[in-house]
């Protein structure tokens, strides 16, 4: 009996969310099949890669990252270089310095940083907060206002602050909004429901459903992707059809596999930089094959590797 190939078709698709403006604008999502199942359906414009920089400069960065940005003195110069990183599609500015338990920079200072970055690049921009929900509510709302017209993605609105961030970024200033939950699929859906009830168009919402480095509870992260995608496509669940963006670098470069110096590490671990890249590449790959529409990376080697992976598979 001849083999009859039968495509697995869904009567549903992931929303296409555009960020950025002009020729360099990109679309996240748009697929109507499982990750890389191009034999069954459309992958939209394929997964995208964000290049992460922070307002804290380069001092704490791995050697390869420092080397890539050598000669850059201002955040604007760093941003410009990030936008030029081969394989990257957009720049992610993480305003880590806003953390009240860290550098505790003022909202005004950080808004100025965001403006400098936005003015230096023509690629799409994603702005992440400092993870403190009160500070982010204020900070991200002001960033959204200051960068009106740039069509940025503001990350992230959480259960505690989605009203402030959603209303400012998604409604008042017409930006795109990231809805963040931590491996809680019911909350991921609920956040999309309440954000749309607030008036933010479903087509302006991107999800960050949780992130971890491989080996650090990562199975919960990918099982969340699996279940979100199964409901979005298999059950045509409109409140889960938002594209998924996953911060990878901020997780993988913080674990001991990526930070322990060779002399402190177990025998056979090898050079620290290679380990860090490996963690970043493995985590990003696992995210992409499980449903992420975009991953946020920072090491040029990782960006190069993942962009090639995407190119070969899409």
């Amino acid at each position: 009996m001849p083999f009859n190939r039968k495509a697995h078709k869904f009567n549903a698709s992931i929303n296409e969310v555009e960020i950025g403006t002009g020729d360099k604008a990109i679309k996240l999502g748009g697929e109507n099949t499982f990750p890389f199942y191009s034999f069954d359906g459309s992958l939209g414009s394929g997964p995208k890669i964000g290049v992460e920089i922070t307002d804290l400069g380069l001092d704490a960065e791995p050697e390869g990252v420092k080397a890539y940005y050598a000669g850059c003195n201002t955040i604007g110069e760093i941003a410009k270089k990030a936008a030029e990183m081969p394989g990257g599609d957009f720049v992610v500015l993480r305003l880590a310095g806003g953390d009240p338990n860290g550098a505790n920079k003022s909202v005004d200072d950080l808004v100025a940083v965001a403006k400098e970055v936005a003015d230096a690049i023509d690629t799409p921009l994603v702005v992440e907060g400092c993870k403190n929900v009160e500070k982010d509510a204020d900070l991200l709302a002001k960033v959204a206002g200051a960068l009106q017209g740039k069509n940025i993605l503001v990350m992230s609105a959480k259960e505690e602050n989605y009203k402030a961030i959603g209303a400012a970024a998604g409604l008042a200033y017409g930006q795109k909004v990231g809805a963040e939950s931590a491996v809680d699929i019911n909350l991921a859906k609920q956040l999309n429901v309440v954000m749309t009830q607030l008036g933010v168009p479903a087509s302006s919402i991107v999800m960050n459903t949780g992130s971890a480095a491989v080996g650090y509870g990562f199975d919960y992260t990918i099982s969340t992707f699996d279940r979100v995608r199964a409901a979005a496509l298999g059950q045509d669940d409109k409140m889960l059809q938002m594209p998924i963006i996953t911060p990878v670098a901020s997780e993988t470069w913080a674990v001991k596999e990526s930070t322990a110096a060779e002399e402190d590490a177990d025998e056979g671990w090898g050079p620290v930089e290679a380990r860090g890249i490996s963690m970043e590449v493995q985590t990003a790959t696992a995210c992409l094959v499980s449903g992420s529409d975009a991953v946020i990376l920072k090491h040029p080697e990782s960006v190069k590797t993942i962009s090639r992976l995407i190119r070969e598979l899409v």
Binding site: I185, K189, V193, V194, Q197, A231, D236, D237, K238, M239
Partner: protein, 261 residues
């Protein structure tokens, strides 16, 4: 599992307002009821034009185009004994939100509506009866098998035949209720889709009782594997029950606002 499919029953020529609208081609009453049902969460809308012997094809075309053009191509069940009217309706039907449903075929005189569905790549509601209500589940399943085989011989996918066990009225046929529910389980065990006029169970009961009976029955029927029902979606208690059962069955993912979706 897919979400339970509710087919809204309120565009029915037995209602005087709808009757008038259909006679005079006045859109308002039909659009109002379509909107109410869609807002209440109906997936499909049933469009019952009656036998419409004089102007069936023209009337069905008008109704299909009217409703679909106003409500983003909402999928429809075309409900009439007039085959030419169903075919005419399908000829102008937009499938982007779902195949049309032919309502309905049975294992007797109306078997040929399965042919009509097969020829038009439509879903068909298949009543497990050849006229009178089946005497028992042996008879229901015999009709089911005959219609299933007929449809598949014509090239239909089994999933496009939605079997209707025929819900029966409690007042008068209380002793048959569990039999109907057992029949649904048999459909479900065979992997078949099912539907039916569920509110028939509460015919003749006081108005305030009907939503309670309908809700209880839909919960029991969904447990047995019922995949769809022809209901009044404006019955809030019933729709809340269906949404809650969909959560328990894993057909939809729970979120705190699930009743608002």
């Amino acid at each position: 599992m897919a979400k339970f499919v509710t087919i809204g029953e309120r565009i029915h020529c037995i209602s005087p307002a709808i009757r008038r609208a259909m006679d005079n081609k006045e859109p308002e009453a039909i659009l109002k009821r379509a909107k109410e049902q869609i807002d209440a969460g109906a997936t499909y809308l049933d469009v019952n034009i009656g036998p419409a012997e004089s102007n069936g094809p023209e009337l069905m075309k008008w109704a299909v185009e009217l409703i679909q053009s106003n409500f983003d191509n909402v999928p429809l069940a075309l409900d009439t004994s007039n085959k030419a009217a169903i075919e005419a309706g399908i000829s102008v039907y937009n499938r982007s939100k779902g195949k049309p449903i032919v309502n309905s075929a049975d294992a007797g005189d109306r078997m040929s509506n399965i042919d009509l569905a097969a020829a038009n790549d439509a879903i068909v509601i298949a009543l497990c009866s050849n006229g009178p209500i089946a005497a028992d589940n042996d008879e229901r399943m015999m009709h089911c098998q005959n219609m299933l085989e007929h449809g598949m011989e014509l090239g239909m996918e089994a999933e496009d035949l939605w079997f209707d066990p025929l819900f029966v009225v409690v007042k008068g046929m209380q002793d048959k209720q569990m039999e109907v529910l057992e029949c649904i389980k048999m459909f479900s065990d065979m992997g078949l889709n099912s539907t039916g006029g569920l509110s028939n169970n509460s015919n003749g009961m006081p108005k305030n009782i009907r939503p309670i009976m309908d809700s209880a029955l839909v919960a029991m029927a969904m447990m047995q594997g019922l995949t769809s029902a022809i209901v009044n979606p404006c019955d809030q208690r019933l729709m809340e029950t269906i949404k809650s059962c969909d959560v328990f069955k894993g057909n939809t993912l729970y979120a705190d606002s699930y009743l608002e979706l």
